[in-house]
Symmetry: C2
Subunit: 265 residues, 2 copies
């Protein structure tokens, strides 16, 4: 009987937001997750239960006969635990999922390694639809790269080769488009709460702002007082933020920088 790629025994090292969503998505597509490791038992058990896998909180008990190990830890934990993770897994393919860590970090610790980086923001609270998420793939050999691309293609229509350098750049850009953007929402929520106004009044504006850059360059899509150099409005906003020096500084810096981009034209 020919075995399909979904039969590849997979181990997840890590049970955070990304690992949780990726493991569940693979499980839903029929992949076999054999084990989940996490430092905390609760995280390990919850994810393991969701994907019908075993779990462990001891790296020494991670099975050594899986074919693919997907490592999704915080960057610092990964670097620290790498030797233990790689130990006794010669022959298996070991990949990490981090935008910011080069593939070479594996070098010397094991022989078959790579990167499987889905560029998205994940929450355990929400299941992710992977079909439109870009996956960036890197591996030591063409064969392993093809293997990873095959797996990613089962989840997503957007699978790309990427060097470590490109992935690092994408990850930096992603911090701006996702984490910093979300922080703008968080600051607006903080302001609205202070004024006893509901955050959901902002949703049509949030949606339109993200929608516009599908067809316009962000620079072309810009509007507002900073773009118009409407100093009256800017000064009045800065005055409203007098009690929030950190937010005031962000307002000032971003308004100046919007102006910088316009002036470069």
């Amino acid at each position: 009987m020919k075995r399909s790629i979904e039969d590849t025994p997979i181990v997840f090292i890590g049970a955070g937001n990304l690992a949780t969503n990726l493991a569940k998505a693979l499980y839903r597509k029929g992949f076999r997750i054999v084990q989940v490791y996490s430092r905390t038992e609760e995280s390990a058990r919850i994810l393991a239960d969701a994907v019908e896998a075993e779990f462990t909180t001891d790296l020494g008990e991670v099975v050594t006969n899986a074919q693919l190990y997907i490592v999704s830890l915080t960057d610092s934990a990964f670097i620290q635990l790498l030797p233990q993770i790689a130990a006794r897994k010669e022959g298996a393919l070991l990949v990490h999922t981090a935008g910011s860590i080069p593939m070479d970090v594996w070098q010397g610790a094991t022989s078959r390694y790579g990167v499987l980086y889905p560029m998205q923001t994940f929450s355990k609270l929400q299941d992710t639809d992977f079909s439109q998420i870009p996956f960036f793939i890197e591996a030591c050999t063409v064969e392993d790269a093809e293997f990873l691309k095959k797996i990613a293609s089962i989840l997503s229509q957007k699978v790309y080769d990427s060097t470590s350098e490109q992935r690092r750049s994408l990850h930096l850009a992603a911090v701006f488009t996702c984490n910093f953007t979300n922080h703008m929402y968080a600051l607006a929520a903080e302001l609205l709460q202070k004024y006893h106004l509901p955050f959901d009044t902002m949703l049509p504006l949030i949606d339109e702002t993200s929608h516009k850059v599908h067809t316009l360059q962000p620079k072309e899509a810009q509007t507002g007082p900073a773009l118009r150099c409407d100093q009256n409005v800017i000064d009045s906003h800065l005055a409203m933020l007098a009690d929030e020096p950190q937010m005031q500084e962000i307002y000032r810096l971003l308004s100046e920088d919007i102006h910088r981009l316009v002036s470069e034209d």
Copy 2:
């Protein structure tokens, strides 16, 4: 014959992004735009043509017998031109569309006045669907407020009363959710261009980031190196931005501030 509200003769003072989209939306709903004023002839003519109106670049030639004047200029131009705009229009209702300007600015210049503030980001390049856009209404009398709400309700399902104070707060929050968010996209686009990577790889992330805050509070939705206090990644990103001191400062300040919000919990 009973006249319907759409027969109200409307004049637009201003032909910018907001005026253009609002006038076109009213026109499509059957409203009668009789005249468009803009300082620049081209803007005035293009909008007037689109809504079958007359146009002028001379405030002295604005007709005085319309029933509703919708003033949508930059804040500073509006304040400067207000006396001329209001002159000889006693009996008509004059409204402005600015989030940041209190209704009282009209006081003394004319007797019937108000505010019609659609909170959205507009571009002349893209027609706007007004159906989900929140309109914030204020007027001197209950009758005029009802009249403005009736008009807004023909365009949108979301029409609210709002004081000048509330509107000012909404506008400040909107600068964060829209203009500053769009600037995060613009900075990402700048970085990606530098690295010869296409901006559209970011679109699924942008969409998911805006989508998430429909069901999660922005604070709960946050992810990334600043939230995780992943100093390795933060330092590596700051190093990548060494040639872009302004962007580096933004990265540093926003990462600190993400940390501030988390620490407050």
